[in-house]
């Protein structure tokens, strides 16, 4: 430790001598003054000098003592892979191919277990619970609240949410474990840099397509404070698993219905993808805005390590990602969905002057909803469905049936509706006064509204800041209100 040892020793012996010869006249003031003088002489740079020497000494020791056989060969292999996955020619196509594959496996693979779960939880367990409750003489209101309300909402969320996440997260974790994801951040950083964000935001955004709460947790890999908050706030613009079904259903029945049947599949898919792309555009735009306004004073740094590639440890990866991500997110969703189920049942069943509370609420929200090109039912559904986006469409259908008495769907008040027939849904929604504008604006509002309560809670836990949590919750909601309002006004003005 050359510098300080030498330097310090010289200085201290000199000062000792002076202090000793000065003998009895030394006062605390003298010592303080000496300290102040030494501070000026040593200067500001000594920390770095110290660090440079520590590294130099450590490198010298390591050079003498450590040999690394086989390292060079592995390094060459890593470099060869890197040259392909980050090349100008192959970098982006490979990336798109891999992620398309991940999404395709998720969607294709989740369908079947989702149906199993739904037929088990809703088709088998639900009637069984009802008959069991009737057999032991549980009063109707209690079984309604617990079984129709709490149980059904929870079962719904679990069957929609669990299978895709149980497939998506392990796949993603495998890519992460192999070491590919930092290369994605490396490839995409330039675009994110221009909007004031970090390349690793690409990863949290991708994770957000699975679940925003998991996406917010994934921002932990961003080690720069400003960029991390940006990634948390904008994660909501990645269309999550709970919102894909809404988008697909509405696009299929409203937009797919506009074109001949042979084109319908393609057009509605294109509509859903353009909403997702719009979400990515909002991610960049809002990141740009935040980094130049509210977050200007937050510390910003950049460094991105490209770790060596490792063969993925498949079993371990699947287990940890199931426990860390899937179960965690599912548990939080259940905790929040259960009370929402109770609320939905209550507003549909508790009556004032012969009318359910839901009717008053819908009538109250209706003028405001129409101004936005939506309606009172949608707004109420979004309020009660804050805990989980999955239950928006079932709630909308239930409320519409409750209000209009539309036929075709046979269910009681406050019981979330499940149907697989798009024609039935269209006729119910038509009875509720829905138009193409309502469909389009619902798709926009589904993209641009407050994150679900699980995500809000996760943002609070991760950021530790009420302020940023409030911004993350209210900014997208405000944007959603503005966008739907403008679209509705322009739509009516143009008179489509």
């Amino acid at each position: 430790m050359s510098v300080l040892a030498t330097d310090g020793r010289q200085l201290s012996t000199g000062d000792e001598r002076r202090l000793v010869t000065d003998g009895p006249r030394v006062t605390p003031d003298d010592i303080l003054q000496t300290a102040a003088r030494l501070r000026r002489e040593v200067g500001q740079g000594f920390h770095e000098q110290l660090m440079a020497d520590m590294y130099a000494d450590a490198a010298q020791l390591a050079g003498r003592a450590v040999t690394q056989p086989g390292e060079a060969q592995r390094f060459d292999l890593d470099r060869a892979i890197d040259r392909i996955v980050t090349s100008r020619l192959w970098g982006f196509p490979l990336m798109i191919l891999l992620f398309t594959l991940v999404f395709w496996i998720t969607i294709a693979g989740a369908n079947i277990p989702s149906q199993w779960l739904s037929s088990l939880l809703i088709g088998v367990v639900y009637p069984w619970l009802n008959s069991a409750a009737a057999a032991i003489g549980v009063p109707g209101w209690l079984s309604g609240l617990l079984i129709d309300g709490v149980y059904l909402a929870t079962a719904w969320v679990v069957s929609v949410m669990l299978p895709p996440m149980a497939i998506f997260f392990p796949l993603f974790t495998l890519l992460e474990d192999f070491g590919y994801l930092p290369r994605v951040a490396f490839n995409l950083d330039n675009a994110f840099r221009k909007s004031g964000a970090h390349g690793k935001q690409a990863l949290s955004m991708m994770m957000g397509f699975g679940c925003n709460a998991a996406g917010v947790v994934a921002t932990r890999v961003i080690d720069s404070p400003r960029e991390r908050i940006i990634a948390m706030i904008t994660n909501n613009f990645a269309l999550c698993n709970g919102r894909w079904p809404t988008q697909i259903l509405i696009a299929t029945i409203f937009i797919g219905g506009l074109v001949p049947a042979w084109l319908a599949g393609f057009v509605s898919a294109a509509a859903v993808v353009s909403i997702a792309v719009l979400g990515v555009a909002f991610t960049f735009g809002v990141s740009w805005f935040l980094s130049r306004t509210m977050l200007r004073g937050e510390v910003s740094t950049f460094s991105l390590e490209l770790p060596p590639y490792r063969p993925p440890r498949i079993r371990q990866t699947i287990v940890t990602s199931l426990i860390d991500r899937t179960i965690y997110v599912l548990w939080r969703a259940v905790v929040f969905a259960a009370p929402a189920g109770a609320v939905i049942w209550l507003i549909a069943n508790v009556t004032i002057a012969g009318q359910p509370i839901a009717v008053y609420l819908v009538n109250f929200l209706n003028p405001f909803g129409l101004l936005l090109g939506l309606n009172g039912v949608i707004l109420l559904a979004y309020v009660v469905a804050i805990p989980a986006n999955e239950i928006v469409i079932p709630t909308v259908l239930m409320l519409t049936v409750l209000l209009t008495g539309a036929s075709g769907i046979d269910s009681g008040a406050g019981v979330l509706v499940q149907t697989n027939s798009n024609a039935t849904i269209l006729s119910v929604l038509g009875a509720g006064g829905w138009t193409l504008l309502t469909g389009v604006n619902l798709m926009l509002f589904s993209l641009l509204h407050n994150p679900c309560s699980t995500t809000i809670y996760t943002i609070y836990k991760e950021s530790g800041s009420k302020k940023w949590t409030a911004v993350a919750a209210l900014l997208p909601l405000a944007m959603g209100l503005i966008v739907t309002f403008v679209v509705a006004q322009v739509w009516r003005l143009v008179g489509i």
Binding site: T6, G43, M51, A52, R193, R296, E298, T301, F302
Partner: protein, 366 residues
């Protein structure tokens, strides 16, 4: 109606409060004016000039009447005395002025080290904040920042009870063409001129060479780039001449961005623009003077470039790499040889010669 009657009425009014609030705002405004005037007079005295009523009015944006009333109030308060029509600071006035200057410079240091505000925002923010900080808060702040001695523009931060030392620099134009100098201070007022210095990438600690001047322009070289500034801008750069031998051995190097892919070089210095958490992160990664770096990969987007640093591959953006200086053509052969043997540079290029006054050397290694 005079002030006391008003405040008396104000207290009687159940919904009141706005009058007293207005009065508090007015008192605050008066205190800020007082403190700004103290700071201005102190600065003017430190430059060896005579503070005047007109100068105070100009610096604070007041009319002459307002400035005269302000100075009168300050004399009554014992902050100033009048000597032959020139306001002079009393001992109390000097202490208050030093407190404000200390608050300003410490806050600038804080903004530079621990926030992400851009360089041109520091001065304005510190101007507002300097009036809100108590001496005790300043002590806490100084401790948190590791007792800095200089603000990010190179101005010394006065110690809590000591006098202000000058930065010791002379204007850049004082250097001759064959003399090298080190930038010790960049004047941050007026803001518009300072913004130009920032845009040129200048910062304290840089070495300046080949200064030539015409009546219209000042030309000089730092870090291998030529800068051409208007004399009024260049007048805000202060330097100390470098002794001949130090000027000869100082390695300027070239920015890391100039290093082609696959070639190795040795880090010479990290520019002052890399600061706070960002600088610490790079140091933690082992990116220090003496470290060998090799650019390995360039992102298809063109910007971040991945560098091999001490066995790890780390991507850095161009705006960072531009501020890291590495050895140029002449240093490269030596670096390769050293890199092979895994031994550090026997002497870092940035280390001052043994004869330099601080006496920091590397010889004790053996």
């Amino acid at each position: 109606m005079d002030e006391s009657t008003l405040s008396f009425l104000d207290r009687l009014r159940p919904l009141g409060g706005w009058l007293s609030r207005r009065q508090r705002a007015r008192e605050r405004r008066a205190r800020i004016d007082r403190e700004d005037a103290l700071k201005y007079i102190h600065k003017t005295e430190a430059k060896g000039r005579r503070p005047t009523l007109e100068g105070v009015a100009g610096a604070l944006g007041l009319t002459l009447d307002e400035a005269a009333r302000l100075l009168g109030n300050m004399q009554t308060a014992g902050l100033l005395v009048d000597s032959d029509g020139t306001p002079r600071l009393t001992a109390i006035g000097r202490d208050s002025a030093l407190h404000i200057i200390r608050a300003h410079r410490l806050w600038e240091r804080y903004l530079a080290e621990e926030t992400g505000f851009a360089e041109e925002d520091w001065h304005g923010r510190a101007e507002a904040r300097e009036h809100e900080l108590t001496p005790a808060e300043l002590d806490t702040l100084a401790a948190r920042l590791g007792y800095p001695t200089h603000d990010p523009h190179g101005d010394p931060i006065p110690p809590p009870d000591g006098a202000l030392e000058p930065h010791g620099g002379t204007p850049l134009a004082g250097l001759t063409a064959d003399q090298a100098g080190r930038i010790v201070h960049l004047e941050d007022e007026p803001a518009i001129l300072y913004a130009q210095l920032v845009a040129e990438g200048l910062s304290p600690g840089q070495i300046v060479r080949n200064v030539t001047r015409t009546p219209e322009r000042v030309h000089f070289w730092t870090n291998g780039d030529e800068h051409v500034l208007a004399p009024i801008v260049a007048a805000n750069i202060f330097v100390t001449p470098l002794p001949g031998d130090e000027a000869a051995t100082a390695v300027v190097g070239r920015p890391l961005t100039d290093l082609p892919l696959g070639e190795s070089a040795c880090v010479v210095a990290l520019a002052a623009g890399l600061r706070g958490q960002e600088r610490r992160r790079l140091l933690d990664l082992g990116l220090l003077p003496g470290t060998v770096v090799t650019p390995e990969l360039r992102s298809p987007g063109g910007d971040p470039t991945a560098y091999l640093i001490r066995g790890a591959t780390i991507a850095l953006r161009a705006e960072q790499a531009r501020q890291i200086r590495v050895t140029g053509e002449e240093g490269r052969r030596g670096v390769r040889e050293r890199g092979k043997a895994f031994t550090p540079a026997p002497q870092h290029p940035f280390t001052p010669a043994p004869s330099s006054p601080s006496g920091v050397t590397n010889d004790a290694d053996n």
